[in-house]
């Protein structure tokens, strides 16, 4: 993927000035005064945050800034001490994680949770919603769920083909490489027909060459009308596909805006991006003199 076919970025997402807590034209997720502490440590303290619909939002920030904690709060895997947050107009407070998933949110985990003891195909089929056969009474009568199961299988194989995992469908997920398991987790998440896809460091541990195909898949999600919120450290990915960037530090949202603006803010560079973003470390360390560098060019 050369720079000439950069993805189409969404604009006009925000109302008024771009800044922490700014309102969005079409918010999917609205978070208000959410606080979470562990022991004496405040992990998350977000005044106001809105996630725009049908756009790709990146959540960046140093380790310990509260990104994963915020993720866990939004998906029901953890409960905040105080605060309100709503998803498509419905309040999520007190809603357990599995119900949040049923409402159309799906999340992936930092440490991939591909179920290694099941086959790739079974992993996929688990993702489908409203399965008749999953009720214990109907499970005993295959006639009631056979047809649906066959349809789910077709959908699963289609998705596997898209992620180039179809040849592995009968293998146990344990035999897949780390990158393939990431793909499986993403494919499985899509089986739930989500409207909001939340990816927790999707590129972590993925080979740079595979990153490009993963990015392509994430962009496809937007094309198909879904909203994406992802946590990442890979700035190239963020710059390439994010429509909107939210920067967190020490539990608070410290900056918001389109990638080019946010990533040029001095405070963000100091705390997070580092001054050497675009420079060659070989030069910085003096291991390679400037003259040699010119020669390479």
């Amino acid at each position: 993927m050369s720079n000439s076919d950069s993805p189409q970025k969404s604009t006009g997402l925000h109302i008024g000035e771009a800044g922490p807590g700014c309102k969005k034209t079409d918010p999917m997720l609205i978070i208000d005064h959410v606080k979470k502490s562990f022991g004496g440590l405040t992990a998350v303290d977000v005044e106001h945050l809105e996630i725009p619909k049908n756009a790709i939002t990146a959540l960046i920030g140093p380790n310990g800034a509260g990104k994963t904690t915020l993720f866990n709060l939004l998906t029901g895997f953890d409960t905040p001490d105080t605060g309100e947050w709503e998803f498509l107009g419905t309040s999520l407070s007190g809603v357990p994680s599995y119900k949040v998933a049923q409402m159309g949110q799906v999340r992936t985990f930092q440490l991939t949770k591909a179920l290694s003891l099941l086959t790739v195909l079974d992993n996929m089929k688990l993702g489908a919603k409203n399965q008749v056969g999953e009720s214990i009474f109907r499970a005993l009568f295959p006639r009631s769920w056979r047809k649906q199961d066959a349809e789910i299988e077709i959908k699963a194989i289609e998705l596997l083909k898209r992620f180039k995992l179809d040849t592995k469908q009968a293998d146990f997920a344990a035999s897949l490489s780390g990158g393939q398991r990431k793909l499986l987790e993403m494919a499985r998440a899509l089986m739930t027909d989500p409207v909001l896809v939340m990816l927790d460091e999707p590129m972590a541990g993925v080979n740079p060459a595979l990153t490009q195909s993963l990015l392509g898949h994430v962009l496809d999600l937007k094309k198909e009308g879904m909203t994406v919120l992802f946590v990442e450290h890979d700035m190239h990915m963020v710059r390439h596909i994010a429509d909107w960037v939210v920067v967190m530090a020490e539990g608070k949202v410290v900056a918001e805006g389109p990638p080019e603006t946010v990533m040029n803010e001095q405070a963000v560079i100091d705390a997070y991006l580092g001054a050497h973003q675009d420079t060659d470390l070989g030069v910085v360390t003096g291991r390679i003199s400037i003259i040699d560098q010119e020669k390479d060019k």
């Binding site: 895997f77 799906v106 079974d122 688990l126 008749v132 769920w145």
Partner: protein
Amino acid sequence: MDWGTIINNTLAGLLTPTTIAFALAALGLAMHFGFAGLLNFGIAGFMAIGAYGYAISVLTFGFPWWGGMIVGIIGSILFAILLGVPTLRLRGDYLAIVTIAAAEIVRLLFLTTAFTDVTGSADGLFGYNNSGGFTSANPFPPGSYGWGPWTYNSETLWVLTFGLGVLAVCVWFLWALMRSPWGRVIKGIREDEEAIRALGKNVFAYKLQALIIGGIFGGMGGIIYAAFANVSPGVYVTSITFFIWTSLLLGGAATIWGPVIGAVIFWTLQAFLSNILPELALAGILPVSGTQAATLRFVLVGIGLMLLVIYRPQGIFGDKRELTFVK
């Protein structure tokens, strides 16, 4: 050394009501641990409730035998709910601890003289097969059936047939459940609950259902045992739980036939050992007395269980790739 009797008794152990009772209990444990990953160390409790539920309903409340059995099953279901509701939201180790304690509490409740009118306390209960009509329901006319080591009178044959019927139904039940989408969710929960929750499934409900199903099988095991012998608190001690665990692991924890075959092998081995060890002691080969030799078999069971878990945790039929506790 009377090899004739030894072999005869060993072969007889292949098919006894006790074997069937154990197979049922092991099947229940397969549902709990093998498939759902729930650590249940109180399967003896489920058996006790099934057995006493049957006996007490017949003797104290005058239920017919099939009514008493249904009460036993309902008791198992309630016991499962009682255990599950507080613990299934916590880490698996908590269920383990609670089940050991619960099974012991159940046994002690049946042992205490406070309820002796209903439970018979240490003496236990008997005669319910007659009062409840189980014995009269026997379709086989009196006489001797079978041949060789597998010779039974009509009463034992009836229990055996009934027990095998129940076992067949339960095996089919487990098989049908595990090959369905419900079974798929259970296997997923066994490995990683959070991943399953993230896919929109109510993990707590599934775990409770698995606990109940396995509990019903365990209760049925207790009922079959009661239908054959008598009901006594001395049977449902913690060691019986570990015998069932041994049977399960021997056959293969996460398989359908594993628990059944495991139970059969276990009891046949027990029959063999309880016959040969005293003979060896009497013949002077083992440096222990006749009575000591008989209890030596329990030592061997313990050692066997340890070796099994260390060297072949997947048992005979299990697939190593499928088990979460095998690294």
